[in-house]
Amino acid sequence: MSNSDKTTSLEASFVDAFEAYAGKPPPANAPMPVNGLAPLNAMQGFRRQAMERFRELGIPSRKNEAWKYTHIPEALARGFAVFTGGSIPDPGAAETAQCALAGLDAHIVVLVNGRFASEHSLIGNLPEGVAIGGLGTAASTHPDILRNHFGRYASWEEESFTALNTAFASDGLFVYVPKGKVIEKPIHVINLQKTNERLFLQPRHLLVFEGNTQAKIIDTSCALTGDATFTNAVTETFVGERAMVEMYLVQDPGNDHAVVSTTHVYQDAASTFTAATVTFTGAVVRNNLNVLPNAPHCETHLYGLFLPSGATQVDNRTLVDHAQPDCVSNELYKGVLNDRASGVFNGKVFVRQDAQRINAFQENKTIVLTNEATMNAKPELEIYADDVKCSHGATTGQLDPEALFYLRSRGMTKQQAQGMLLHAFAGDILNRISIEPLRRMLDERVTRLFGE
């Protein structure tokens, strides 16, 4: 069977799943109930169109430049059942508790296979008007917010995986912070995977931070399942005027779990958005992080740390689209590749014609520990304005032998010296994490990984 045949059959399986899920197209103006949830008017609108678009775009293969190094059809070829609800094995309180972060006082949201699980979540007290919960419920509790924001930032017309997610979207994280509210404790989203069969999961998250708000989000995954999963997550984030938002994504699901994570961030005037994406394991991990600072005086910080081993592929693709003047963006992605792991960094910065006085910096540094590991780095700047300060760079190399020798000459074994240097290299990203229990957990994880 040729590659294209395989791809076609992969797509056909999603189309079949969609037909079984959505049934016949609803009559005009009639909202369609999904999975017993309240009618999701805002979500329904695009559903069938999005599926059509997915059918046209197809599963990206390596012939597609943007997916050249990430083997999606191969990862899907194992065969996954599209999860559209149904019975979810109860993870149990004890299992859930082990996925929490030690010492972290947070608003805890548990999603089981992408579905909000209120019985496991510990959301606690919130400032007036703030909502943290499931997107499915929000469709009836906050219809206006969904109408104004859902599907506005993530483009199902252009992205195959976003189209697929949109076609099936029914639940995920929902955060709404109305004007002026500050969430002091971090919001910790725990993505639990629990299944006895290979599942294709499609959580859909919507985060809306109105003007002058502040919040920090931690997203971790926790695989309790014995079977493999493929997650296609889409997150839409609106950061209002003068809002300050930090998002931490920790990817450590184990090497049997594939992830495509697409995040679209819209920034309003003078807002600050910071993201850090830390990846340890996964069969294939593809992160699309797109930020649109669409008003002046925005500040954007994107950090990434990828430390794969085995045969894990980690592909980070970022886009900062400076459409407006007087903004700052700063991007630093660092990686350590072990065994046969492969890494991709494709960072794109656009500075549009009228976006003057932009400061945009982008850097990627990778250490390759073996001859079998590979790194592909493609930093890109496209500048159409003339009064800007921009820089980009990428380096890939090995540990400095002189630094290793220095440590060994003080009595450290090769392994210890290497661990110490790699830890320091990763520390450059870890030290930018402002939530101490999270930073500590990651620091310990890195220490274990490099075996100091």
Partner: protein, 253 residues
């Protein structure tokens, strides 16, 4: 027993022969100075003794306390009490001085079957040793050599020497790049660390350091061999007459 005995040592890097038959014996408690012009092989000798892998030993042997030094990994040499003060100390961004020294010290203690130092005892020791070479205690919370001045880097090497208490210390041009005050501080530090059971090999291009660290013996290295050995007055002769004097004599012989 000699602490260090080098016999007919030959070494090369890539295809270039650098050491061409070095013989040197250092007894416990002695300070030996090795002088020589640029490119004579002084720093290569230090590198080979510390175990730098890019050099290949093609002939000869080195006994350290009667053991075959060249058979040991660089970290084993350190654990056995060999210390190299680097000519160009390496910057280690992100590796804190504190963590680096605690690991190094506890590694050595473990090797000797001792308990790791308590946090309090370690801190106390660190303060004492830093004061010893007049190293700013603020530097302890920084990354190793990262953003240190040239003088601070060199003092940091002697500070580590004080912390790790080796039995054989090799100082590779520790004086280069130091102003006279820093040179005196470093020399005072070294002098205070001299003991009956600790030997020093001091590699230097200039005689000045030897005004402060009085050696038991001075060796002159030219073209990969020690061509002359003598007492401390040999250093003064060299300072006065220059290396050409030795080179000419050597050629004449």
């Amino acid at each position: 027993m000699a602490i260090l005995q080098i016999n007919n040592l030959h070494a090369r890097i890539e295809e270039q022969n650098i050491l061409k038959g070095v013989d040197l014996t250092v007894a416990a408690g002695e300070v030996h100075a090795i002088m020589g012009p640029n490119g004579s092989g002084k720093s290569t000798l230090a590198s080979v003794l510390a175990g730098r892998e890019e050099f290949e030993v093609t002939d000869g042997n080195v006994l350290y306390e009667g053991q075959d030094l060249l058979e040991m990994e660089p970290d084993e040499r350190a654990l056995e009490g060999v210390f190299l003060a680097f000519q160009y100390p390496v910057e280690l961004p992100g590796v804190s001085m504190n963590n680096f020294l605690r690991q190094a010290l506890n590694q050595q203690r473990e090797y000797r079957g001792e308990e790791p130092l308590s946090a309090g005892a370690f801190l106390k020791r660190m303060k004492q040793c830093a004061a010893f070479v007049d190293l700013d205690p603020q530097l302890m919370s920084r990354a190793v050599n990262d953003g240190f001045s040239g003088g601070e880097k060199k003092r940091n090497e002697i500070f580590q020497l004080a912390m790790l208490e080796p039995r054989l210390a090799i100082l590779d041009e520790t004086d280069s790049g130091l102003d006279i005050d820093a040179l005196r501080t470093v020399a005072d530090g070294v002098n205070a660390l001299r003991r009956n059971d600790r030997s020093f090999v001091v590699i230097t291009h200039y005689q000045r350091l030897l005004d402060y660290i009085i050696p038991d013996a001075v060796h002159v290295m030219v073209d990969g061999r020690i061509v002359r050995s003598g007492g401390k007055e040999l250093a003064l002769d060299l300072e006065e007459k220059g290396y050409d004097w030795i080179r000419e004599e050597t050629v004449a012989v």
